[in-house]
């Protein structure tokens, strides 16, 4: 049998998926999600962190259904196509810390790679610096891989372990259904909600969840990964995933032009700041973290739905990273970087380098 019989894993398949994500993300903005943030895995994980009270930044608390849909959609696709494989045990603590550094870096820039593209597609020039940082971060990651960097092999896990992530996510969805937002109230049951700011901007539940499920399903089939797109291009000169990356950007840009969401410039862009160096450096740290961990934040969610416990550990690292970011003033805001944003970038970069340098197999042997 042919190794590429999966239609979504063909060139046309990955482009179609990129186009769909681009259009749907831009439409989510039209339907209520924050500006240039139709889908942002870092921001949305951060909002979920706030919704469960692990940080109390009032403007960014919402249990984003898109994220839940990503994991459950991927879980469904993996089950249907018999790709659900419980696995794990490849340097979990290193992956957890990389999740933290990825999130801390992303929140200095204010976006994951998906949002970097969506910000560009909305005309936000600051995202050019973020994209440059992402490329350089991934490039540094490829240097580690060329030297023999590896977090080691994963092994088979029990089905119970594989089901943990989908089960936890289903539990969060249940909470979201039980404790729906109440107009004018910052709390509903155990969940926290924002009354203003990005956390108060969201599309209707059914739309967010439906699009999340669809994207999760398609991304599982196509292996869509924004970090992998850059990595494979740099490492192997391979355009496969990168064509999906470009498709997302082009589709979001066209959709924004059609629905009037394209506003070129650097100043006053939605949920963005103009400190070029830190937009670059934040995303460099995030890009390096994604590369060392083997997937962008979206891809980590999809893999966690397929039973990859290591990806699940990375996701929880991101959640804890988000809590640190907002509890300790590491995260940026539209007024600029946080009081400890510079320290956050430096410390995160240090941890990435420790993990990178200490896991080069040639040196270890």
């Amino acid at each position: 049998m042919d190794g590429t019989r999966n239609v979504f894993a063909t060139k046309a398949g990955i482009i179609v998926v990129g186009v769909l994500i681009g259009i749907l993300a831009a439409l989510l903005q039209k339907l209520g999600n924050p500006g240039n943030m139709g889908i942002c895995v870092a921001c949305f994980d951060r909002d979920i962190t706030g919704a469960v009270g692990m940080h109390r930044a009032e403007l960014v608390q919402y249990l984003r259904p898109e994220i839940l849909g990503f994991v459950l959609g991927s879980f469904g696709a993996a089950l249907i196509f018999r790709e659900f494989k419980p696995r794990g045990g490849s340097a979990p603590l290193a992956r957890f810390v990389l999740g933290m550094t990825a999130m801390i870096g992303a929140l200095v820039f204010l976006g994951c790679p998906w949002r970097t593209l969506l910000r560009l597609a909305g005309g936000d020039g600051n995202a050019l610096l973020g994209l440059a940082g992402l490329v350089v971060g991934v490039w540094i990651g490829t240097l580690f891989f060329k030297q023999g960097y590896s977090l080691g092999r994963s092994g088979k896990q029990s089905y119970g372990t594989g089901f943990l992530m989908p089960l936890l996510i289903a539990g969060l969805l249940l909470l979201r259904l039980i404790y729906s937002p109440v107009a004018g109230q910052a709390q509903s049951g155990v969940l926290f909600y924002s009354l203003k700011g990005p956390g108060a901007a969201y599309a209707p539940l059914a739309v967010s969840l439906g699009i999340g499920l669809l994207v999760g399903f398609l991304a599982q089939r196509s292996r869509f990964c924004t970090m992998g797109a850059l990595r494979d291009l740099i490492l192997f000169k391979q355009w496969h995933l990168f064509s999906g990356f470009l498709a997302l950007l082009a589709a979001a840009l066209l959709t924004n032009l059609v629905v009037g969401q394209f506003h070129p410039g650097f100043e006053k862009q939605p949920v963005a700041h103009t400190q070029a160096l830190w937009n670059f450096a934040g995303m460099l740290v995030a890009g390096l973290s994604f590369a060392l961990a083997g997937g962008c934040p979206g891809r980590q969610l999809f893999m966690s739905g397929e039973g990859d416990a290591d990806a699940g550990v990375f996701v929880f690292g991101m959640i804890v990273g988000a809590a640190f970011s907002h509890n300790f003033g590491l995260a940026s805001s539209p007024t600029g970087i946080g009081p400890h944003g510079v320290a956050a970038v430096v410390v995160s970069l240090f941890f990435c380098l420790v993990i990178g340098l200490s896991n080069i197999e040639r040196a270890r042997a």
Partner: protein, 71 residues
Amino acid sequence: MSDIVDARGLSCPQPVLLAMAKMKSKASGEIEVIVDNQVSRENVSRAARSQGWEVRDEQREGDDTHLMLTR
């Protein structure tokens, strides 16, 4: 038998990196790559074809797939 690449349990991009290194070290001949998931199978096959190698998908053994690359 140095022409077997065991990529089981490794995540992207390592299966492709290992297979590529082996392909570069041999101008022609046969290389067997063992993978244990569909993603690595797709990625290694795609990379091998792009390098002008032919890919034959061997029978599966449990979760493992043995890919035979020839040129």
